[in-house]
């Protein structure tokens, strides 16, 4: 059985100019122990579809799907309080801006322990021991000392490690990483990606990487979904995607990579791509 199964997901936002379709009929499934990358540019709906799974969209959003099931549980039928028991425990998410996604008013230790208290019902001593264990796991030096550090006292890379520690605190079955390294330096990016992939392998989690960086896809994914303007353009395993991309859009994206430049000019997506917009894509 798939870990997460989504069929025909549509998300629309109510705006002053009428409903805006951010995601149009996305099908997606991820198996346990799999690394799935969702690639697309801004506005492709890649984050929105995952936020819909997490139930983190604002009230203006309307989520419709034929099926949205996690581990056999229908997410569409859950009450908010039932959903909160799954979110943060069995499915957890890491966001793009590590410094912004931690609460500046509380210490790193408090924020890790909060999850453990809420979902695992551990007592104080157990929480502290587990928090130190988690910090060691994500590669933070001097965990005992860092428990009482505030987010502003740590670097972006360290904050992202704390975020990962919070996300994996309850041994989730599925970890969703939304552009986890975009705000970080290349050398730190490498460390964080290695950490995510090693944790994924160690605990047999499913991992969804949302990214716009083809390099990150190539370095982490087993399978890739390419999205464009709310539609799925292509789905393939990572090797065949890079070796023989099927859709024009993927081909265009790959050829726009500076390292693939032939001669002086970079082919741009609009040049390579279908003009006008692809059949079925939002105008």
């Amino acid at each position: 059985m798939s870990l997460l199964e989504i069929k025909n997901l549509t998300v629309s936002f109510d705006t002053a100019a009428g409903p805006f379709m951010a995601v149009q009929g996305i099908d997606l499934s991820i198996e346990p122990r799999e690394v799935l990358a969702i690639v697309g540019e801004s506005g492709s709906g890649k984050s929105v579809s995952m936020l819909a799974v997490m139930g983190l969209l604002p009230n203006t959003a309307t989520v419709k799907a034929d099926r949205m099931a996690f581990d056999g549980v229908d997410l569409l039928k859950l009450s908010p309080s039932e959903r909160r028991k799954i979110i943060g425990k069995d499915i957890s998410m890491i966001f793009q801006e590590p410094i912004a996604s931690l609460n500046p008013c509380f210490t790193a230790g408090f924020q890790i322990e909060e999850v453990l208290r809420f979902h695992m019902g551990m007592d104080r001593a157990q929480r502290r021991a587990r928090a130190i264990e988690l910090m060691k796991l994500v590669g933070i030096a001097d965990p005992e000392l860092r428990l009482s550090s505030f987010p502003h006292q740590m670097s972006g890379g360290q904050c992202q490690r704390i975020m990962i520690a919070i996300a994996i605190a309850c041994n989730p079955k599925l970890l969703i990483a939304d552009e986890p390294t975009t705000a970080l330096d290349v050398t730190i990016q490498k460390q964080i990606l290695d950490l995510l992939v090693s944790l994924q392998a160690k605990y047999g989690m499913g991992l969804i990487m949302i990214t716009h960086n083809m390099g990150v896809v190539a370095e982490t994914a087993d399978r890739v979904i390419v999205q464009y303007k709310g539609r799925k353009m292509e789905e393939a395993d990572v090797l065949s995607l890079f070796e023989s991309p099927k859709s024009n859009y993927t081909r265009a994206l790959l050829s726009a990579l500076p390292e693939n430049a032939v001669g002086d000019r970079l082919p741009t997506v609009s040049e390579v791509m279908f003009e006008p917009a692809p059949s079925g894509a939002r105008a």
């Binding site: 490498k190 726009a256 390292e259 970079l266 997506v269």
Partner: protein, 275 residues
């Protein structure tokens, strides 16, 4: 070949005033960096946050004075700590910032954005300024109809075009680009890089291109300087640096850059299977 900008042993220290419980200290942001760029060429400065690359950009752009060292622009020695800045010098170096959402005034129409440098630095008439702004819009791939619009009506890529247009209004001899494409999507990034290459060909522009993305640097640069903790640990032509990195930090940087070619994916998958 004329030399547009030359720096000799540039040093920049910041004195951080002490707080209630800490004494004052000195941060050595740039520790003696030398470089030069010829007309029509691009020097890329690579490094991570805290390496001093943006401080160096501020010094080259004449925003910040250097603590020590000499800076020559178009062969003339410039020291803004002493002697200040003339209009003429201010015209010669322009900068494009990383975030096109933050670098344009949301309450200023595009026409005024482009006219402003002329208004401040030249004595041109309003009609002249309008004419020049219209021409510049065309050059960066926008149209006359954009003249009266506000920044929020544009996409990120278009805004970066506007920022580039504004920088070019005064015909600068040197353009400093501080991570100009890192906030942009891949496909838009390609368009902006193409635009920069076209403008360089057309006007013989000289670029100092600051980036942390090695694949972009490899595409656009003639010379590459790698900075680490305020020092230039590697400096040479693009071919030299990429083919044979000497310093261990450069090697680390290359190793950390994600690779998107089929061979490395195959290698990774094989490794994963074996594990």
């Amino acid at each position: 070949m004329t030399r547009v900008v030359e720096g000799k042993n540039i040093v920049r220290d910041y004195h951080v005033g002490g707080g209630l419980f800490t004494g004052p200290r000195t941060v050595h942001a740039v520790k003696g960096v030398s470089f030069n760029v010829d007309k029509g060429k691009t020097l890329a400065i690579v490094g991570e946050s805290g390496s001093g690359k943006s401080t160096l950009a501020r010094i080259i752009t004449l925003i910040d004075p250097a603590t020590a060292g000499e800076l020559f622009i178009d062969g003339k020695k410039v020291d803004i700590a002493r002697g200040g800045l003339t209009r003429e010098m201010r015209r010669k170096v322009q900068i494009v910032f990383q975030n096109p959402y933050g670098s344009l005034n949301p309450r200023q129409k595009i026409g005024d954005v482009l006219g402003e440098p002329l208004l401040i630095n030249t004595d041109r008439s309003a009609a002249d300024r309008r004419d020049l702004a219209m021409k510049m819009l065309k050059k960066v791939g926008l149209g006359h109809e954009h003249y009266n619009r506000y920044p929020h009506m544009f996409s990120g890529g278009q805004r970066q075009r506007i920022a580039i247009a504004r920088a070019l209004m005064l015909n600068p001899s040197l353009l400093v680009l501080d991570e100009p494409v890192s906030a942009l999507d891949l496909s838009v990034q390609a368009q902006v890089l193409n635009l920069l290459a076209d403008l360089q060909d057309e006007f013989q522009l000289t670029y100092v291109f600051i980036s942390h993305d090695l694949s972009v640097v490899r595409y656009i640069a003639d010379d590459v300087m790698v900075m680490y903790l305020g020092e230039a640990v590697e400096y040479g032509s693009r071919e030299e640096v990429f083919a044979d990195p000497k310093h261990s930090y450069t090697k680390t940087l290359f190793a950390a850059t994600p690779r998107a070619d089929v061979a490395s994916i195959k290698a990774r998958l094989a490794k994963k299977k074996a594990a």
